[in-house]
Subunit: 236 residues, 2 copies
């Protein structure tokens, strides 16, 4: 689907922002920064250092106006995504880049930014389990899967699903061989100690505790999604 | 084994350094920074920002002399580990912290720093597949496993194995319930697109290409390991 990108230098860029979940960014960075003949940019309004949701300091390398047209736009999520849902500067950047990009990869709740930019109408998509019920407010078609590919949109479930999504992106932008070499380089043969990675497989008390911990931000995200559905003319 | 840590505020600290592999740090950070009643410190000689091996900028929060006694010392790896193998300031910090820590977690080639500090004699350990044959030079007992627990030392295979290792650490420092809640929060139910995460399972051409790409640093690491074996009085 993206054969035109096979031969040329790839411009890859991720939007970083205050209270991002750093894993949504650094997981894909670990894979995508290894793609031969590519450059990975961290992009935000300013270049001053930014703390992630738990205090890891990330430093953007360029501002929105400085960014080249990207071949791959990466949209991470995290609690800080909520503050950007009606930020016209951020949404305009996503819209402009998405028009020219070969591929848009969202990780976790980064998909909500994509939705707020009006890009997901009729698009099959996934996100973190705590926000999955919000996808219809953006006109997206929710799919219960870890990675969903629909045209040039690749959306993933929560945080660590960015690893699986990024490897799929490497296949699309390059090929199987390069994706497999990267998987071997980062020794990605996971052995999770429990089966509690999804609400379908986790023990009930674990799910209840996790839902309770996510309740406040989930309620806020719902209210925002309802406002945005009105703006986008989406009926749920 | 670490019951004394269950009730108190945990001091967690990772050594960061130039040309670290950021995934060795940010994977465990994603998990360990979620442990209730804990603080995660990034520690280095100076507080100036540091680029990882592929350009991601990390910012240390404290210097070695400023660090409190850690309950958990995290040692990431990456190409930059090689420059620290005979750095007395770094090795003295690791030795001092390891004495008082309840747990030492090494990720990828971070184990070599632990070995260079003389801490692995007779300890069962693992590391990235490209460096696994170097473990005996530090007196360690190589184990072909993704995560190896021996007393207070938890060592892991390459990069992404830090996720599996960090969840095991949460079980030791806290309990199963908290580890499972964290696994669910980061939706860690991995679906790697290929079986190429280890040399035993990857296609032969993928392994050959990866070994070739790692040859230069592997040769350098061998020469260093041989010098250190002499210093430590280890016969291989």
């Amino acid at each position: 689907m993206m054969a035109d990108t096979q031969a040329r230098h790839l411009q890859i860029g991720a939007v970083v922002f205050p209270r991002i979940d750093q894993g949504d960014l650094t997981g894909p960075f670990e894979i995508l920064s290894r793609v031969p003949d590519s450059t990975f940019h961290l992009i935000w309004k300013e270049k001053t250092p930014i703390p992630d949701a738990r205090g890891l300091i990330l430093t953007p390398q360029m501002t929105f106006p400085e960014a080249p047209q990207l071949d791959l736009l990466v949209l991470p999520g995290g609690p800080g995504q909520e503050a950007l849902m009606e930020d016209e500067v951020v949404l305009a950047f996503i819209q402009r880049q998405a028009r020219g990009a070969s591929c848009i990869l969202s990780v976790c709740t980064g998909v909500l930014l994509c939705g707020a930019a009006g890009l997901l109408k009729g698009v099959r998509a996934t996100t973190h389990w705590s926000a999955h019920h919000l996808l219809p407010y953006f006109g997206a078609i929710p799919v219960n899967a870890r990675v969903v590919v629909d045209g040039k949109y690749i959306t993933t479930a929560g945080v660590t699903a960015g690893l699986d999504g990024a490897l799929r992106v490497v296949v699309f932008l390059r090929n199987d061989l390069i994706a497999q070499q990267i998987q071997l380089a980062i020794e990605y043969a996971p052995e999770p100690p429990f089966a509690s990675g999804t609400p379908r497989t986790a023990p009930l008390d674990v799910v209840a505790a996790a839902r309770s911990a996510a309740r406040e931000i989930t309620d806020a995200r719902l209210a925002t999604a309802q406002r945005i559905a009105l703006r986008l003319g989406v009926q749920v």
